[in-house]
Structures are given as structure tokens and as C-alpha cells.
């Protein structure tokens, strides 16, 4: 589905990613966990071609997408739900969703719009209730739903999500994670970046741990959960033991 080889990337002279190789198979949820500033967002931006890589190759859905424009990358069926949602705050929920369908429009598949819209509304009924509200006035949870909904409007096969649970109450976050699992169960492939490692590994099939631009550990979710280093650094296990 996607394969990344020896990816080096960054901003100007600053090298953030120092040779990353990952792959995600069709129908998998793969989690990437790591501390602040590890380069997770940079990795997703590079795959989405918002940031140009220094070297390495990216293959998405069987096409070499290295160095394409961001809009061509989306057209391949590779969507990003960005960190911090990045909605169009002065536009309505409906307008935000319609804009997400831009790649379909360009492919002259305008007639699919109502169908895609319905699909998003049945996934997030709350969005339908808020259809004509300005995106900037939505609650944090609703904004996250809209960000995911907008990314899904182009009917992508591969979806990247950058910290979808950030700033959400645990119960709302759980709901979002359940929806992500639903998406996978409906055949989509997902690359999930999370600070909330425990929740991410619970729904993921495999995971990678990233530290200062390098992948240091990889394995199945169970392996990562049981790994003492991962436990200490990202799952707060030591803390638990001390407090027990």
C-alpha cells in the first residue's frame, strides 16, 4: 500500500528525518508514537508532499509520489488529517466538506458528491446537525470529526492522521478511535500518529517508535505494549508501578 525508503527530510538546512523506512499494508492501522519534536508531523507532511524530502523514495498505492505536488498526492488517494485540524474557520461545516471533495470534482465525478456527503454524515451524525454552522464555532470534538470527514470526502484509500485525540476529553477521544477502527474495518488503510500511545496501540495492528528523526523500535502492537522501553517512555508504566 505505501512504502517509504530511507526518507530524509526537514526544513531549509535543518534535517529532521534521518533516514526513515516504513511500510503500511492494505487494510492495516499502523501507529507511529514518539515524543514531542521527534519528527512525526514532519514525516506525515513529507508523505503528503507539503514538505519536500532531501532524499529517499515514497511509494503510495503503487505510484512513486516522491516530489509530486500536494494536490496530486491527494488525487492519488492519499489524504492527511493534519495536526491542529486546519479547518476553514469562516466557512460552514458543509462548505468544509465540499472542499474536501475537490479531487473528485476535478475528475468530473461531481455526481458522487451527495453520496460522499451522506457517507460522512452517517459516520458522524453530529456533523449533519451542525451542517450550516461555521467550522470555527464547533467544539473541539466536532472540529476533529469535521477534519476527518473533510479528509474522507475525496474517498481516499490511504489516510494519515496526526494526533486526532489531541485536546479531546477521554470519552470523545475513545469515540474518535472507534471511528478510526470502523474505517479500517471498511477496508481503508490508516497511518496514525499519536501521543496517546496506549489508545493508538489498542486499535493498531503494528507500530513504530520514533525518536529525534529515527525509528528506534518496530513491531506488532502487542510487542510494543510489552516492550519495557516503550512502556517506560510512552505508556507511563513506571509511574503506575511507583504509584501502586
Amino acid at each position: 500500500m505505501i512504502r517509504i525508503r530511507n526518507l530524509e527530510s526537514g526544513y531549509g538546512k535543518l534535517r529532521v528525518l534521518k533516514g526513515i523506512s516504513i511500510h503500511v499494508n492494505t487494510g492495516e492501522i499502523v501507529a507511529i508514537i514518539g515524543g514531542n519534536g521527534a519528527g512525526k508531523t514532519t514525516l506525515l507532511y513529507t508523505i503528503a508532499n507539503l514538505v519536500k524530502p532531501f532524499s529517499g523514495t515514497i511509494t503510495v498505492l503503487g505510484t512513486d509520489s516522491t516530489g509530486l505536488s500536494p494536490e496530486k498526492t491527494v488525487a492519488l488517494g492519499c489524504s492527511l488529517v493534519p495536526e491542529g485540524r486546519q479547518l476553514f474557520p469562516t466557512m460552514t461545516v458543509r462548505e468544509n466538506l465540499i472542499l474536501g471533495s475537490y479531487p473528485l470534482m476535478k475528475k468530473r465525478e461531481k455526481r458522487r458528491l451527495p453520496e460522499e456527503m451522506e457517507r460522512i454524515y452517517s459516520l458522524f451524525p453530529r456533523l449533519k446537525e451542525r451542517e450550516n454552522q461555521l467550522a470555527g464555532t464547533l467544539s473541539g470534538g466536532e472540529q476533529q470529526m469535521l477534519a476527518i470527514g473533510r479528509a474522507l470526502m475525496s474517498d481516499p484509500q490511504f489516510i494519515m492522521m496526526d494526533e486526532p485525540s489531541m485536546g479531546l476529553a477521554p470519552i470523545i477521544a475513545r469515540d474518535i478511535f472507534n471511528k478510526i477502527e470502523d474505517l479500517r474495518n471498511h477496508g481503508r488503510t490508516i497511518l496514525l500518529v499519536e501521543q496517546n500511545a496506549r489508545a493508538a496501540l489498542r486499535i493498531a495492528d503494528r507500530g513504530y517508535v520514533m525518536e529525534t528523526g529515527n525509528l528506534i523500535i518496530e513491531g506488532s502492537s502487542e510487542e510494543l505494549m510489552d516492550n519495557p522501553d516503550v512502556g517506560r517512555a510512552y505508556l507511563g508504566k513506571d509511574f503506575k508501578r511507583i504509584s501502586e
Partner: protein, 296 residues
């Protein structure tokens, strides 16, 4: 002042005001999609009038206007391609200097191609002596042309930005360029389109107003200052408010002539500009909610 005189002032005020409004809308379109204040906006108005004038001896007026608009649009597009696109993350100051430089460049080229003579397009209907009487005031039919075409531009732009897919995509670029890219929108194309649109409406305004106010190679800068004042008065980026602000400035100027010496006319715009920048930088009509959302 008689009632007819007041009417006369009102009509001349809204005529000039609607041209200010179109220039301000031109500013807004480019500002919204790029954050740049394009001080060459007044030059588009000049180009529209002067190019159409050169074509009038050889073809019907309508065709000359269409051709002038097309050429000005192409120049707008070229400016974006050559001067704006190549810059990566330019500072605001640098952009302002560049557009001021462009405005000087275009003016000098115009002086070179044409000359410093004042020209005017023929009246669209009738001649300079034709007039319509409305409640005792005598008005040139060209005034109705200016008002009608300005209204058409405003309505068409609203329709474009709110009801067409490309228009919405342009608004999306304005709101959040990165997010627009992630939606699959070609943001460079949208920026270019915003320069085309601004140039086109500027040129249309330049043609319609030419019979009344004449066209001159150096008319761009004063117009840009007025248009900029109006854009600020309405709140940068807000085109509906720009129309109201434009009419307001036009009326103020028009009535000032009856109270103050003619020479003070241009002081009004500058005074308003300074007052607004000091006391209400968000513009007269800026709604709190939108301001809050924009900085969100």
C-alpha cells in the same frame, strides 16, 4: 443648496465612489488569497482605459473594451507568474515594495507607449451633452453605466465566491493555504486567478469611468490610495463593506467641494485612512465574530 444640487452631488459622489469600491475589491481579492496589498491595482484601471482608447479607432467600442480587459488580465497573470510566484515566504514589507515598484514600472511603460496626454473613451450611449433628468438633476447616462456595471461586478463576484466550486476553493486558499493544498486544491493556480480577477475588474472599471473622469498614464497611484483607504475603511478582505465604504468616501469628497476649497478634496481620503488605522484598524463594519474566527 437646492434639492437638485444635492442630487447632483449625490450622483457624482456615488459614481466616483463606485470606482473606488471596485479598486478596493481588487485589493481585497489579492489580499485574501495571498496577504499581499497590490499597490499596482490602480494601474489596472489606467490600463483598461488607455488600451481600450487605442483600439477604438479600429473597432467598435464594445470590442475595444473586451480586448482591453483581456490584455490587462493577461498582464495581471504575468505579474503573478514573474514577480510573485518566485518568492518563497516573502516579508510583507518586501511585497509592498515590489508592488509599488511594479506600479512605477507600469506607469513608465505606459508613458513610453502612449504619452502624457489626457484621453477619454467615447460615451457608451449618447455624448457628453446627453443627459437624463432625474428629479431635476441632470445626469450623464454614463453615470448609469458606471453604477450598473459596478453593481454587476459586485453581484457576479459574490455569486462566484459563494456558489461556484472554484470560488469556494479561492476562499479556502484565503482562509488556510496549507489546508487548501491538503484538500487537493492547486493553490498556485488560485493565487494566479486572484491576480487575473483583480486585473479584469480594474480594467472594466477603467473603461466605464473613462468618458467621465478621463484616462491618463499617471492616474493609477491616486486611485490606488483612494481604493486602499476604502479597503481599510471597509475592513481588509471584506468586499461587501468595501462597496459601502467606497460610496461613503465618494459622497464625502463630492460634498466637500461645496464646503471646502477644491484642493482639500484629496485630504479627506488620507485623513480617513489615518483615523481608521489609529482607531479602528479592523474597519468600520468588521464583525467581532469574523475577526475572532480569523485569528483562530
Amino acid at each position: 443648496m437646492s434639492f437638485e444640487q444635492v442630487l447632483q452631488y449625490i450622483f457624482s459622489g456615488i459614481t466616483v465612489g463606485s470606482i473606488y469600491a471596485v479598486v478596493a475589491i481588487g485589493f481585497n481579492i489579492i489580499y485574501n488569497s495571498t496577504g499581499i496589498i497590490n499597490f499596482a491595482q490602480g494601474e489596472f484601471v489606467m490600463m483598461g482605459g488607455i488600451i481600450a482608447h487605442s483600439f477604438t479607432p479600429t473597432m467598435p467600442l464594445f470590442l475595444a473594451v473586451v480586448l482591453a480587459v483581456v490584455i490587462t488580465t493577461a498582464v495581471g497573470s504575468l505579474i503573478e507568474l514573474v514577480f510573485i510566484r518566485s518568492l518563497k515566504n516573502p516579508s510583507v514589507l518586501r511585497m509592498i515594495i515590489i508592488t509599488i515598484g511594479l506600479s512605477i514600472l507600469i506607469r513608465e511603460i505606459a508613458l513610453h507607449i502612449w504619452d502624457e496626454k489626457i484621453r477619454a473613451l467615447p460615451f457608451f450611449t449618447g455624448s457628453e451633452v446627453t443627459s437624463i433628468t432625474i428629479f431635476g438633476a441632470h445626469i450623464s447616462p454614463q453615470v448609469l453605466w458606471v453604477l450598473g456595471i459596478t453593481a454587476l461586478i459586485v453581484v457576479a463576484l459574490q455569486f462566484f465566491f459563494y456558489f461556484t466550486f472554484t470560488g469556494q476553493a479561492m476562499r479556502a486558499c484565503a482562509a488556510n493555504r496549507k489546508a487548501a493544498s491538503l484538500c487537493g486544491i492547486n493553490t498556485r493556480k488560485m493565487v494566479n486567478l486572484s491576480f487575473c480577477l483583480s486585473a479584469a475588474i480594474g480594467a472594466v472599471a477603467g473603461c466605464t469611468v473613462s468618458p467621465l473622469t478621463q484616462t491618463h498614464y499617471a492616474m493609477g497611484t491616486p486611485l490606488a490610495i483612494k481604493g486602499f483607504t476604502v479597503a481599510i475603511l471597509g475592513g481588509l478582505g471584506n468586499s461587501t463593506a468595501a462597496v459601502l465604504a467606497g460610496l461613503l468616501l465618494g459622497l464625502l469628497e463630492s460634498f466637500s467641494i461645496s464646503l471646502l476649497p477644491m484642493a482639500y478634496k484629496d485630504v479627506i481620503a488620507i485623513s480617513i485612512l489615518l483615523l481608521i488605522l489609529f482607531f479602528r484598524p479592523g474597519g468600520l463594519f468588521q464583525s467581532r465574530q469574523i475577526v475572532a474566527l480569523k485569528s483562530f
